[in-house]
Each structure stands twice: as structure tokens, then as C-alpha cells.
């Protein structure tokens, strides 16, 4: 029997055009006592303006340190169905593609072992199954694995890598985001399932600078596809756009940050050597302009949310890396940076914070990377810097003044 609650405040959230999460909880609550108590507790939160979840709590499955997030209610007596309400993270297929059979399997499984409530998807990328009890975790993980699915990451581990839709359905993708994500996920299974880092480590891969997966803001390691060849122009299609009312001068030329496009009313010209590879013209004139090879990726490091030093965006460390299977160069570099972070990182220190603390030079040396101007917005503006013994022996001027 599922308990019924009066939910006058939540009922308000069933009004209006946008699909209602309250309706979803009610659907699950009709047949599942956990979901029913979730509804009851949430109504109380709405009334009292405060959350009623207890802090943390470790639960997991044998052999794994992550993949399940423990959750317990502060109000277990009042709402016994959510006394335990753990989250199970299931590693999603790259690109978030599904078939109806797969989703029905997940549903059957979750109706049997969980609350019937899900998040498609969590912001890290996993399928998030919301609400189960400790005893169900082993059977759940077993059945998932028998059917080809595995848990995702949580805790101080590599988190489930994710990507944009990429070459599966996007003409702009310059790297195989799905394959890279799948390959890296397989390569680093141990780091994904057994937390062994100072803190979390996220990898997100997108096919072009449009960055549909927000990798530059949300991933410790951001992999962003780009190109080096000229932009190919189909002049007829550009003229078509002009005829259909696109104001090429206003909307394309004036917005180009490289100031490298001209339009004489008939022909579009791009000075490719000044192009900043921003994608504005290419996306606004879809089908008329096209990036050309060589294709590769910009590798960036260090994005994080504001705690503790303030939010950071990822910083460029490799302006261009060819990314072809088996992606060995990238994997080696990742292992090197992890070794360094594991050695020097403090508890809960993201890799970006460690770079700020110990210096970008040390980090670049660890990764075996040479300095290039693409790494900075501008060079530093004060004249005190660290000379190392080995620097004193270098005489670059003899080379550049020749």
C-alpha cells in the first residue's frame, strides 16, 4: 500500500505548460511507496523552505568505491519510504542515444529495485536512478552488468566522461567525440570505479568550438575539436542566404571577431590567416561554409565551480592535437598529470587549483609540453620570474638574432 499525502503546494506546480516534475513523482508514487514518501517529504520542504536530506553517507557495491551516492532522510520516522534513498549512477551510452528496448529494461529494473524515479540525465552525464535502499544495490549492479551496463563515477574519482552528439548527427564535428568518450571510459575503468584521486576529475569532449556540452566550464579536462585548414565557401549558397534575407554585412561580417570577412554583395571572402576559428560564420550560414582539415582538438585543463578559489574556465595546454585511435598521446598525457596531481594535490583540491598553487610551468613540464603563445591571453606584466639553473644555460637569442 502506498501512503497518500495532501500536497497543496506541489499541486500548484502541476499547472502551466511546461511538463511537471510533480506529475512525474505522482505517477511513480501511485505504485511505489518510496516515491510516495518522496512526495510527502518534498511537500514538507516546500512548506518549511528547507531541505530534509541528511548529510552524505557512504554506500556502494563490492569492489567499487563509487557509482552510488548515499542519501538518508532526516525524517525517517515520518517518511519511512525515504529513510534510505540512494542514487545510482549508470554510465550512459556516449551521445545519449537509446533504443526503446534499452529504456524499458532500465524501467523494469528500476520499478523492481528502486523508486521508479529517474533523472535523464544528471549534469555529469550518467543516467541517474533516484532512490533505492542499501540491500538492493548488489542485485541492481549485477543485473546491470549482465545486461551490458556498468555504474558511473562518483567521489574522488574520474567521473563518467561525456560528449556532444558529434559526428553521429552534426556536420561540424571535427573529431569523433563518441569514440573518444567510449575509448577513454574503457581505458580508465579503474580510475572511474575506485576513487584514488585528491578530488573529482571530469573529461568532456565536444566536436567543435560551439561546445554544446559546456566542456570548457564543466570539465577538468576539456577536449574541443577544431580545424587548421581554410574555410571552404559555397558562394551560391551564400547568395541564397542573402536572397532569403540574411543581412550578410550586419550579421556575419560585423560579428566576425577576426575582422577577416568581406562581402561585396556578391562574393564572400575570408582571410583565413586572421580567422579565430570561432564558428560564428559557419553556424549562421549552415551548409554554405565548411571548415577543412587538418582536424584535431584543443586540449584544455582546469575548469571548476567556485569553491574554493573562485570559478575557473579551462586553460589551453595543447593548441592542436591530432586525435586518432588509440589516442595514445592523450592517454599518456592524462596519466602523467594524474601522477603529479596524486603526488602533490591536497584533499579536495581540483587539478586546476593545484596548477595555480604550484605553477603552470611545473604542470606543463610534467605533461611534457613546450610553451606556446596560444596558452596565454597575454604574457605576464611584471619582471620577476623563476629562473632555473637549466634556463641559464639556454641562449635562445643566439638563435633568433641570427
Amino acid at each position: 500500500m502506498t501512503k497518500k499525502y495532501d500536497t497543496p503546494l506541489l499541486d500548484e506546480l502541476e499547472k502551466g505548460p511546461f511538463p511537471s516534475f510533480v506529475t512525474e513523482i505522482k505517477k511513480a508514487a501511485a505504485k511505489n511507496p518510496m516515491a510516495a514518501d518522496e512526495l510527502g517529504q518534498l511537500e514538507k520542504s516546500m512548506r518549511d523552505k528547507v531541505t530534509y536530506w541528511k548529510h552524505g553517507g557512504i554506500v556502494g557495491v563490492r569492489g567499487y568505491g563509487g557509482g552510488v551516492i548515499g542519501r538518508y532522510s532526516q525524517l525517517a520516522d515520518e517518511f519511512p519510504g525515504v529513510a534510505h534513498f540512494h542514487t545510482v549512477r549508470v554510465n550512459q551510452p556516449a551521445g545519449l542515444f537509446y533504443t526503446s528496448e534499452t529504456i524499458r529494461f532500465i524501467c523494469d529494473l528500476w520499478d523492481k529495485y528502486g523508486s521508479g524515479l529517474t533523472n535523464f540525465h544528471g549534469s555529469t552525464g550518467d543516467m541517474v536512478l533516484l532512490g533505492t535502499v542499501t540491500d538492493n544495490l548488489e542485485p541492481l549492479a549485477t543485473i546491470l552488468s549482465l545486461n551490458g551496463f556498468d555504474l558511473g563515477g562518483s567521489g574522488s574519482a574520474m567521473r563518467t566522461p561525456s560528449c556532444c552528439v558529434g559526428p553521429a548527427r552534426c556536420e561540424w564535428s571535427m573529431i569523433d567525440t563518441l569514440d573518444i568518450t567510449y575509448d577513454l571510459t574503457q581505458e580508465f575503468q579503474d580510475e572511474l570505479h575506485r576513487p584514488q584521486f585528491p578530488y573529482k576529475f571530469k573529461i568532456k569532449t565536444v566536436g567543435c568550438p560551439v561546445d554544446c556540452n559546456a566542456s570548457i566550464a564543466r570539465a577538468d579536462l576539456s577536449i574541443i575539436g577544431t580545424w587548421k585548414g581554410p574555410i571552404e565557401i559555397d558562394q551560391d549558397r551564400v547568395r541564397d542566404y542573402a536572397k532569403k534575407g540574411v543581412n550578410i554585412q550586419e550579421e556575419i561580417v560585423n560579428f566576425c571577431p577576426g575582422k577577416c570577412i568581406t562581402w561585396d554583395g556578391n562574393n564572400l571572402a575570408i582571410n583565413n590567416s586572421d580567422c579565430l576559428h570561432c564558428m560564428h560564420c559557419i553556424t549562421k550560414l549552415a551548409g554554405a561554409l565548411k571548415p577543412t582539415p587538418p582536424f584535431g582538438a584543443v586540449i584544455l585543463i582546469g575548469a571548476k565551480a567556485p569553491f574554493v578559489i573562485g570559478a575557473t574556465l579551462s586553460w589551453v595546454i595543447v593548441p592542436f592535437m591530432e586525435l586518432k585511435p588509440p589516442y595514445q598521446e592523450l592517454k599518456d598525457m592524462i596519466r602523467n598529470m594524474w601522477d603529479w596531481w596524486n603526488e602533490y594535490g591536497k584533499n579536495r583540491e581540483r587539478i586546476g587549483e593545484l596548477i595555480i598553487r604550484r605553477g603552470m610551468r611545473e604542470f606543463l613540464e610534467v605533461c611534457g609540453l613546450e610553451p606556446t603563445p596560444e596558452m596565454v591571453k597575454e604574457p605576464r606584466n611584471d619582471p620577476f620570474w623563476f629562473w632555473k639553473e637549466e634556463d641559464l644555460e639556454k641562449k635562445p637569442w643566439e638563435e633568433f638574432l641570427k
Binding site: 505548460p17 511546461f18 511538463p19 516534475f21 512525474e24 511513480a28 516515491a35 518534498l42 520542504s45 516546500m46 523552505k49 528547507v50 531541505t51 536530506w53 548529510h55 563490492r62 542519501r71 550512459q92 551510452p93 551521445g95 545519449l96 542515444f97 533504443t99 526503446s100 528496448e101 534499452t102 524499458r104 524501467c107 520499478d111 521508479g116 524515479l117 533523472n119 535523464f120 540525465h121 533516484l130 542485485p139 549485477t142 543485473i143 552488468s145 549482465l146 545486461n147 551490458g148 561525456s162 559526428p167 552534426c170 556536420e171 564535428s173 579503474d190 559546456a214 566550464a217 564543466r218 574541443i224 550586419e250 550579421e251 570561432c278 565551480a305 569553491f307 574554493v308 570559478a311 584533499n347
Partner: protein
């Protein structure tokens, strides 16, 4: 490797010894429609046919249609099954999700596009979100599932999306407007780079549970968690002290130490930050900046927050050039004008006093008079 079986199965009795570990996710190729498999990496262009419909055209001439509908992200298994049924009927069972939690039905047969749209309309799915308009809101857990939430996320999202539903289904904006909600300053939702975003905030000191501190918390980790070094040891009590002058109520100490609860029904609420973006189109990625320092928690529909958003949204629609994102528009007109045209008050909280505060102080005499 995560190889999926001929037929999915759930045994009645589970032998946990059979569990395989480290197989990873199943290969994505198991889930791609045949037309996508055939034209993988070979797409030529796409067209947006209506706010919720686009077609991708391959170099081979093949086409695939995508119909996008809104989802509240929190989905019951009933709704997921309904989606699966629709996908079976029109899409040979294939569908996907977007990173902003919309559902995309992938149609290979043009003759099924309109019937699909008709059925979705009949079932009251909200079709849209493609192109220069409002898409779904990325958000975090809130009171549904997180211990740190200063505001509920799903409810706030519902209130905002109801208000701007027109801009999902029909109306256009100068460029995409990306909303995001994070229910605490932890910001799991990456609101720090969205056009208009909401952060749950606290405004009072954490309360120290001295009796419990020594049992559940570690002193060095707790001290290290504080960005402003407000936490010092209190040896007499085997606990800690918090310097009220230094605390900025971020709640990070609570993240590592349950004995420092900070949630407060009266004083918690919502800050609005604006002008962030992640893409590299035109301007480089930008952080969001503070527009409204605090609005009260007023469940279930947060009317103050919705109204304040309207002011920002309408000013943007009225003032931005085509293709300008909110942040690009503000950069062009200047922040003094942003506050003038939105009517939002500028207060002490808008002047940074944290790590790199001085970088945001103005060092030029170039500005615009607004009064």
C-alpha cells in the same frame, strides 16, 4: 566491454557472484539508427524547419528528422515507457536526450514526421527548443535529493519555464537564451557560464554543533574547506570557531562537515547571475556576473524571481542585436546601462570583495551617463 545481450533480462533470483566489473558502458553503436550509422561523420548540413523540428542532410543525400520535446528531467518510469512506445511507433525505437535534458525523437521516414508531431501534441508534449530561443534549463537536485540545497531546483525551473514557455515553443530571441539553476553555491549546475542563472544562497553563519563536531568532522579538512580562512580551532571545546567578519556563507564547510548546518528557512534565497556563455562563437566564453544579490525563497512558484527574470529577459529582447547573447549585449551597452534599462538596483553586493576582486574595478574614465 559492455556488450548488450540479444534480449535484456531480469532474473528472478540474482546470483551476485555473476556480477562482472569494469565492463564500462555498452558501445554507442548499439543505439544508433541505421541512417546515422551509415552517414556517421558524413553530414553535410541541417535545416531548422520549425521550433521543434530539424532535418540533417548527409553527403549521401540521406536525411534524418529530429523532433525535440521538453522534459522536466525528473522522469518516472511510466513516462519513459510512454516515450519508448512513441519511439517504436515513429522512430523504429530510436531516440536520444540532449545535454539540456530534452528528448529528441529521431525519424528516418519523412512520412512519419507529421503523425509524430500530431501525437506529441495530442499527448501534450511541449515541442520546441531548437534555434534562437529558450531551451530546457540545466539544473541540480534541490530539495528533492540534496542535503545542501538552499533553494529547490525543480520547482524554480518549472516556474521559470512556464513563464517563458512561448519562447520554447514559438517565439524567437536574438540568440539562444540558456537558463541554469544551482541550488547552492557548490554550483553542480554550471550556472557560472549561462545567460541567465540562479544560485541558491545562504546569508547567515553556519551553526556549530560542538557536541558532534569531534565525532563527525576532521579539523584540518574543515579548516581547509573555508575559502576565507574564517575557521579556526577551538581547543577547549574540541571544536572550531568561525570568525563572523570573514564568513561569506558559502556553505563549503558544511560540505565536508555535517556538524556545521547552514540552511535557514528565513534567510536563504536566490541570487541571479547573467551574461555567461560557454561557446567560442564571436566572443570567448564568459562568466556570469551578479545581477540580483538576493530574492526570497517563496515556494512553490518563486514569484519575485520570475518577475526579476522578466525584467532582464525583456530588456535583452528589446535591446540586443540579432545574434547577440545576453552577455554580448551587456558588454556592448555597458553594465551601467544594463542596470539602467533593467531597473535593477546596484548595491554593495555587486562590488566584488573576493579572490580577484581588483580585476573587476574600473580603471578608466570611459563610461556612459545613465542619470
Amino acid at each position: 566491454m559492455g556488450e548488450i545481450p540479444e534480449k535484456f533480462f531480469i532474473p528472478d533470483v540474482v546470483d551476485v557472484k555473476q556480477r562482472k566489473t569494469d565492463i564500462g558502458p555498452p558501445h554507442y553503436s548499439n543505439f544508433l539508427p541505421p541512417v546515422i550509422k551509415k552517414n556517421y561523420g558524413n553530414w553535410k548540413t541541417h535545416e531548422i524547419l520549425s521550433p521543434g523540428l530539424m532535418v540533417h542532410i548527409a553527403n549521401s543525400g540521406d536525411k534524418i528528422w529530429t523532433v525535440r520535446v521538453a522534459s522536466p528531467r525528473l522522469l518516472s518510469t511510466d513516462t519513459l515507457r510512454e516515450i519508448a512506445d512513441i519511439a517504436d511507433k515513429y522512430c523504429d525505437g530510436y531516440f536520444r536526450f540532449t545535454t539540456r535534458n530534452n528528448i529528441e525523437f529521431l525519424v528516418s521516414d519523412e512520412s512519419k514526421v507529421q503523425p509524430l508531431i500530431d501525437e506529441l501534441n495530442a499527448k501534450k508534449f511541449m515541442i520546441g527548443g531548437i534555434g534562437s530561443r529558450v531551451s530546457n534549463i540545466v539544473h541540480t537536485q534541490g530539495w528533492i535529493h540534496c542535503h545542501s540545497a538552499a533553494v529547490d531546483a525543480s520547482a524554480l525551473v518549472k516556474a521559470i519555464m512556464d513563464e517563458f514557455a512561448d519562447y520554447f515553443t514559438t517565439k524567437e530571441t536574438p540568440n539562444k537564451v540558456r537558463f541554469a539553476v544551482a541550488c547552492c553555491t557548490n554550483m553542480c549546475g554550471a550556472v557560472h557560464c549561462s545567460d541567465i542563472a540562479y544560485v541558491g544562497i545562504h546569508r547567515k553563519l553556519p551553526r556549530i554543533d560542538h557536541d558532534n563536531f569531534k565525532n563527525v568532522c576532521e579539523l584540518p579538512t574543515t579548516m581547509a574547506a573555508c575559502p576565507t580562512a574564517a575557521i579556526t580551532p577551538d581547543p577547549a571545546k574540541k571544536s572550531i570557531k568561525i570568525n563572523p567578519e570573514k564568513c561569506m556563507y558559502c556553505g563549503n564547510c558544511f560540505s565536508v562537515c555535517p556538524a556545521l548546518p547552514i540552511a535557514d528557512p528565513e534567510n536563504d534565497g536566490v541570487a541571479i547571475v547573467v551574461g555567461g556563455k560557454v561557446g567560442n562563437l564571436r566572443k570567448p566564453p564568459m562568466f556570469s556576473k551578479l545581477a540580483v544579490a538576493y530574492l526570497p525563497n517563496n515556494p512553490p512558484r518563486w514569484p519575485e524571481v520570475v518577475k526579476a527574470t522578466r525584467k532582464i529577459f525583456d530588456a535583452y529582447i528589446a535591446g540586443a542585436k540579432k545574434h547577440e547573447r545576453v552577455g554580448e549585449w551587456i558588454e556592448r551597452i555597458g553594465w551601467e546601462k544594463f542596470f539602467a534599462v533593467t531597473g535593477l538596483p546596484f548595491t554593495f553586493q555587486h562590488i566584488d570583495d573576493w579572490t580577484y576582486a581588483f580585476k573587476t574595478f574600473r580603471t578608466t574614465t570611459q563610461f556612459k551617463w545613465t542619470k
